[in-house]
């Protein structure tokens, strides 16, 4: 790597809040979120782009924040798990994961909820095949996925009025 790499200034929004930061070009988006902004709800699981624990929404699209450079988020609108709750009220997807026991250890949960949210933003009544496809990039080693599928379905029903 070249010796003196200059930081690059970027402007972006996370959970609706605007930020300006000067970042090292090699810094990953997940590192920016966790280390610079203290938003540690976005997890690093495999760090090889397989497990999906680092999934966030960028301009509404699910992305693996460990497989993007932070500076690529310049101008972007990022949603992390911390941005789901509104005024102390859990988001329907958070509520549904709890109510349906869609988690055990919880490590994969933030990524799963955001991957599910991309699906539900386009289709509030997904069938099982559509749900499985939407979360195929998210690995859960506890639940066996059945309750996660239930949770996504219930969240879709409850998001209708919202």
């Amino acid at each position: 790597m070249p010796d003196n790499v200059e930081n690059i200034s970027i402007n972006f929004k996370v959970n609706g809040k605007p930020y300006s930061r000067s970042v090292e070009p090699r810094k990953l988006l997940v590192e920016l979120l966790r280390e610079d902004l203290d938003l540690t709800g976005t997890h690093v699981g495999c760090d090889t782009s397989y497990c999906g624990a680092c999934t966030v929404l960028m301009n509404g699209a699910a992305v693996k924040s460990c497989t993007m450079f932070a500076l690529q988020a310049d101008g972007a609108d990022i949603l992390t798990v911390e941005g789901l709750e509104r005024n102390g009220e859990l988001h329907p997807i958070q509520k549904a994961f709890g109510d349906c026991y869609g988690l055990q250890c919880g490590y994969c949960t933030p990524g799963l909820m955001l991957a599910a949210l991309q699906l539900l933003s386009q289709n509030k009544k997904p069938n099982e095949k559509e749900m499985r496809k939407a979360i195929a990039g998210n690995t859960c080693r506890c639940t066996g996925y059945q309750n996660i599928l239930k949770a996504i379905q219930v969240a879709g029903q409850n998001m209708k009025g919202a």
Partner: protein
């Protein structure tokens, strides 16, 4: 800019292969040139019987595009790459330029008439996709040159195709894959193109299977000969995804299933082709 930075610079498209490779230190470029902020590089146009894809068109955009849906095998490919997150970032041009032996796009595009348009310090040029992919991770791109567009000729009426991959899970590369594009006239196969993925350093066209099928009704016997030709043409390596023998058997079965879907689509049926997960 690439000419200025020299050999040590790499282009960053979707980053879904390059960034993991950099983490593993398999790629160690001194400079990355991010193409994502170059405007006008992501588009899908239909123009005079050809579909034109901007190099930075994401897999997800192709998956949801009605225009791209005119060539169903392209939809099979785009919709089956890894997972939603990767498809939201990964690009068709990046995938071709990476030339990973396990990549999906090159295998599919080997069965169609495809021009890869390149642009560089010495101007523009067009290369057919089969001349573009040279070897594992090696393309025809010169230093300071990049892919600008992938142009795919829409197959004639009566043509149908399908792409099937066998995968252990969504985010991993396939164990093996098969792309089949057939042109039918009634029950007779007028033309056939068959390519295998992940079982060689580059996609393998199964010329012997194509010649067995051309001009013939696709009887069980003809299809069995095509499967046999595919097994023989494959040049797989034994690895954690399976033994070479296993992969040979697998490509035969994938070719058979892909032929079945391709024939039905050639008749105008709407058939969904889904990758097979172990």
């Amino acid at each position: 800019m690439l000419a200025e930075l020299g050999d040590d610079a790499k282009l960053l498209a979707g980053g879904q292969s390059l960034i993991p490779l950099m983490k593993l230190r398999f790629a160690n470029p001194s400079h990355l040139v991010d193409l994502n902020f170059v405007s006008g590089t992501s588009y899908i146009n239909e123009d005079n019987g050809t579909l034109r894809f901007g190099a930075l068109t994401r897999h997800a955009e192709i998956e949801s595009s009605a225009v791209a849906g005119k060539i169903p095998i392209l939809h099979d490919c785009a919709a089956g790459i890894a997972d939603v997150q990767v498809r939201n970032r990964g690009t068709i041009g990046g995938s071709l330029a990476e030339a990973d032996p396990s990549g999906d796009w090159a295998t599919v595009l080997f069965t169609l008439a495809v021009d890869v348009r390149c642009i560089g310090t010495n101007g523009k040029r067009t290369v057919s996709v089969s001349d573009f992919i040279k070897d594992a991770y090696t393309t025809d791109l010169a230093q300071g040159e990049l892919v600008s567009e992938v142009a795919v000729k829409i197959p004639p009426k009566g043509s149908g195709g399908a792409y099937l991959a066998f995968k252990r899970s969504a985010p991993v590369y396939p164990t093996a894959s098969a792309a089949v594009q057939l042109t039918m006239s009634g029950d007779v196969c007028q033309d056939a193109a068959i390519a295998l993925g992940c079982v060689g350093l580059i996609p393998i066209r199964v010329k012997d299977a194509e010649s067995v099928m051309r001009g013939q009704p696709l009887s069980e016997k003809t299809i069995a000969s095509a499967m046999e030709a595919a097994r023989n043409a494959a040049d797989p390596q034994s690895d954690m995804r399976g033994s070479a023998e296993y992969k040979r058997t697998l490509v035969g079965a994938l070719v058979k299933r892909a032929i079945d879907i391709a024939v039905r689509r050639a008749r105008g049926e709407q058939v969904e082709a889904t990758h097979i997960y172990a």
